[in-house]
Symmetry: D3
Amino acid sequence: MALIEYADAVPEVRAVFDDIKTTRGVADVNNFWKALAVHPPTLRRTWESLKQVMAPGALDPLTKEMLYLAASAAAGCAYCTASHTAAARAKGMTEAMHGELLAVLGIAAETNRLAEALRVPIDQGL
Amino acid sequence: MALIEYADAVPEVRAVFDDIKTTRGVADVNNFWKALAVHPPTLRRTWESLKQVMAPGALDPLTKEMLYLAASAAAGCAYCTASHTAAARAKGMTEAMHGELLAVLGIAAETNRLAEALRVPIDQGL
Amino acid sequence: MALIEYADAVPEVRAVFDDIKTTRGVADVNNFWKALAVHPPTLRRTWESLKQVMAPGALDPLTKEMLYLAASAAAGCAYCTASHTAAARAKGMTEAMHGELLAVLGIAAETNRLAEALRVPIDQGL
Amino acid sequence: MALIEYADAVPEVRAVFDDIKTTRGVADVNNFWKALAVHPPTLRRTWESLKQVMAPGALDPLTKEMLYLAASAAAGCAYCTASHTAAARAKGMTEAMHGELLAVLGIAAETNRLAEALRVPIDQGL
Amino acid sequence: MALIEYADAVPEVRAVFDDIKTTRGVADVNNFWKALAVHPPTLRRTWESLKQVMAPGALDPLTKEMLYLAASAAAGCAYCTASHTAAARAKGMTEAMHGELLAVLGIAAETNRLAEALRVPIDQGL
Amino acid sequence: MALIEYADAVPEVRAVFDDIKTTRGVADVNNFWKALAVHPPTLRRTWESLKQVMAPGALDPLTKEMLYLAASAAAGCAYCTASHTAAARAKGMTEAMHGELLAVLGIAAETNRLAEALRVPIDQGL
């Protein structure tokens, strides 16, 4: 699958790459964005959505990033797990926090599977 | 699928139910535990694991609960999503926090799918 | 979603229903087949495949049925989990065997998630 | 992702590695355990759970291992599929048994998907 | 989970509901939007994205809708499968087309599972 | 995992390989078939099913191939995503069509996740 570098990108793609670099303070964008650049409207829309969702709000940036990591690992996406583990560390996730996040992911997977295998009826009032 | 009530439970199951009720300060256990009681060793082991994992540590209880919810929703488990949404609310998740958690789950699902559909190579150094 | 009963079925569907009833020694077919009857070629092909796969071979019928149940529960299919739990019981799965199967499903889910979240490299030689 | 070798491990991790090697009669532990060693409490808890679940019981060790493999393959975990295929072979799974297990996994995936796409109602009495 | 009706909605939500009704020519919005209205920014962003993605382009509306249905069924989302089956029918999917779509979904699930269980290496050049 | 080449294959496997090559007009079969050849009955049955399902019908070959790709990407199968992206291109999927297919996959993943996390009740009449 082709990765589109800045030098080879059309202006619409360069504008998104520039915004990602400025917003994140990084020298280059991740492979995800270079791959998504094959379809400029999806690149732009996805970046605009992600920027809006990950902005600080009722949840702090580290919590959002760890939720992103939890969802990505639960979905089994290797690329996403790798990049959001790195992003969470950059935002302050320590080894101890990562270890506990892994433990929660593991026990959630186990109880999710058991609840489905036993077809447990949802508790009244929920 | 049968749910085993306290009154009908063998002593080994009652002991676990008692510990759940004491630890959580609740009058009755959730359906999940009543269903899991069909196999007492799995009931006890699962509860012991969950109690250890969800105890306060490097991550606070609310963050752990929201990670549990994120993993459960990403895995598509309806029972788990219902019960961990309620648990997170009981631990302090506001409507605004829930809304942002949902937004993170949604964008994570979208970018996970795109990363896999494009087979994006993991960035160097990760 | 419509369920097609024998009385309302076209001859091609009736022929498959008859073969299911004869092969399994049952008075009526499960809802799955009544739903699949909306597309007779898929009904026939799916039944022929299933009949061939589930026939006794190097694995005995109960082991095959428990593997089917494990795969269905791991995939989170509620209908399939319900019907293959019943089928496994009919073929001899005891409560104790079911309990151990659930325990394996649970620990497999947990270690699967951890292996993916940690991106563990496959061991040399495998 | 770092793999922690025995020589570099803290005593708590070494104790688990020793127990794995003794229980399984192997010279070294799999990468899964070396990766999990980043969080010693999760390493120890996971190993203790797995050892308990996989011990002989109402189901024999080979059947348990094949169920583990079925669940892992259904969950799409490449590492787990590789290691449990090897483990099942070591416990006596022949080529013919593996072929039939694959066939069951395939037909289960197909019928799971069809049952969900058709939203088949669960049969009365199940 | 609460569904927010138009009469009870804040102006920001009403504006989105109005746009959905106008764009689709319907008298009321689906439950999905009423549920998503708990978080107005996610409601608006999701609707804007969906409207942009589903607009006619290189793929016609029916093909897009069937792809949406295929992805939803493959992800095991019951709500999404129900609503996109209805939407595809409204856009011209006949019974025969639906039957063939189901057949493709089934065989894709089977071969996906087998490819993963066998860990097939990607063909050279792809 | 072993790949079985034509030169090393038993007659039953060669017959299937020959039919694949003739039907598709290709010089060699994909790795998927070479891997599946470890179990000749599953190889033959899977190929016969796939050939029947993918034959022209109410849906044209390109639409079927894109549905196959959508289901494979939604299921997170890397091998299947790679091979069906190539197959769809060979049948006429342009870059613009691929970009729109990706966009549909992404928005479907997002709304699927949100619908499940919100436990949206299925709309009346569906």
